[in-house]
């Protein structure tokens, strides 16, 4: 019952047209070995949920440049001009969410909450087409949960069971994405025996993690 697979084997779970979550805040905490391996495949027509779509030509940005991303759902694509260019050519669909709404929608997807209300974005362009509702005289908008077919996440260390801990601000979206996809593949720097992580300090319990891949050179 080992969860350790090769980076090549991990690619079997990423299909044309699938919806994928990818951890990271920019390149920090992004599973770069998995993304690079994906680049070497021919998988295309991807819908990607990620705070950003990498940087120009780097990380997920390379997939964008190759025209293999159908849609991006995230909070901040401004720093990658390739995204704007593809969007303006009509080749890339974008769904923009405030970063807190994005992260809460992913958490909801993992926690079996189909939808929630948030005040963030009410009365702004972000609210266009969204249902509005008043609680205690304040306007809120309805946000549905986000889930994906597969999540690629990055952790610092796993034990053999798949329990995970993270590194500093590289934690970001990874723990919530670990709960919100049908198949979860975690790229890690190191795998230790079961018992090698303190039960109090485990951030992602192993029930969320399907497969482990060792970081290239890690």
């Amino acid at each position: 019952m080992t969860k350790l697979i090769t980076r090549g084997e991990a690619m079997n779970y990423i299909k044309d047209g699938c919806r994928m979550m990818v951890g990271g805040f920019g390149l920090v905490g992004c599973p770069l070995t998995l993304v690079e391996t994906l680049l070497a495949t021919s998988v295309t027509d991807l819908e990607i949920i990620s705070n950003n779509l990498g940087e120009p030509g780097k990380g997920l940005g390379a997939l964008v440049r190759q025209g293999r991303v159908r849609k991006g759902i995230g909070s901040y694509f401004t720093s990658n001009p390739d995204v704007a260019a593809a969007f303006n050519r009509g080749e890339l669909d974008i769904e923009l969410l405030p970063q807190g709404t994005l992260s809460e929608a992913i958490r909801a997807g993992g926690a079996g909450i189909p939808a929630f209300y948030t005040g963030v974005g009410a009365g702004t362009k972000i609210a266009e087409g969204k249902e509005e509702r008043v609680f205690s005289d304040k306007r809120y908008i309805l946000q549905e949960a986000l889930r994906a077919d597969v999540a690629l996440i990055k952790a610092r260390k796993a034990d053999e069971l798949g329990n995970l801990i993270y590194s500093k601000s590289a934690r970001n979206f990874n723990p919530i994405m670990a709960a919100a996809a049908n198949i979860v593949i975690a790229e890690v720097d190191e795998i230790v025996p079961a018992g090698g992580l303190c039960p109090e300090n485990i951030v992602t319990p192993h029930l969320f993690v399907d497969f482990l891949v060792l970081k290239e050179g890690g």
Binding site: F25, S79, T124, S169, R171, N172
Partner: protein
Amino acid sequence: MSSKEVIAKRAAAALVDGDIVNLGIGIPTLAADFIPDHIKVFLHSENGILGIGPTPLEGKVDKDLVNAGKLPVTVETGASYFDSASSFGMIRGGHIDVSILGVLEVDEKGRVANWSVPGKSVLGVGGAMDLLEGSKKVIVTTLHTAKNGASKIVKDLHYPITSERPADIIITELCVFDVDAEGLILTELFPGVSLTEVKAKTDAYFRIKENLIETESESKGAD
């Protein structure tokens, strides 16, 4: 001191001991350098850090430790890390005492535009809306006018609004406005700045605090 430093210093002076503070990119980040010695504040970063410290020395950069502007940072003793949903739960849930934000414009009700320019594709919002919506106190820091001389303190926003929730304080290189339910109140003029100048450079209607003091030169400034 540059105009931006004047603004950053005044913003820092608005903080109180124990505040949990989120600093936006630009002028707000400069405020960290002016926090008075006699108070201790804690810097929150929406990518999952409480307790940000100074910029690391060259050679001491940790690639896993960046702020919301994706720049390398350090952490202070007593810092903690958390995931993005927890971090925005702190923001939206009212656990951040003060956010200091840069803006494109602010209107005469104190409402802010700082995320999107019309005519350009809307491709980034980040945490701007969350911070404005959720922070207990919002301090806007901005140059009073744009490069072309146009006032950034306007009657009606030309850019898409970030939140219906207005800022509490607006600090420019010329003056400070407080915001109440009716709109802006000019509460301070920086040394050497005249009321005439502020009126000339401000498109928005504003009230003037009783006993507002004009000081003629920097040397006489209380700030």
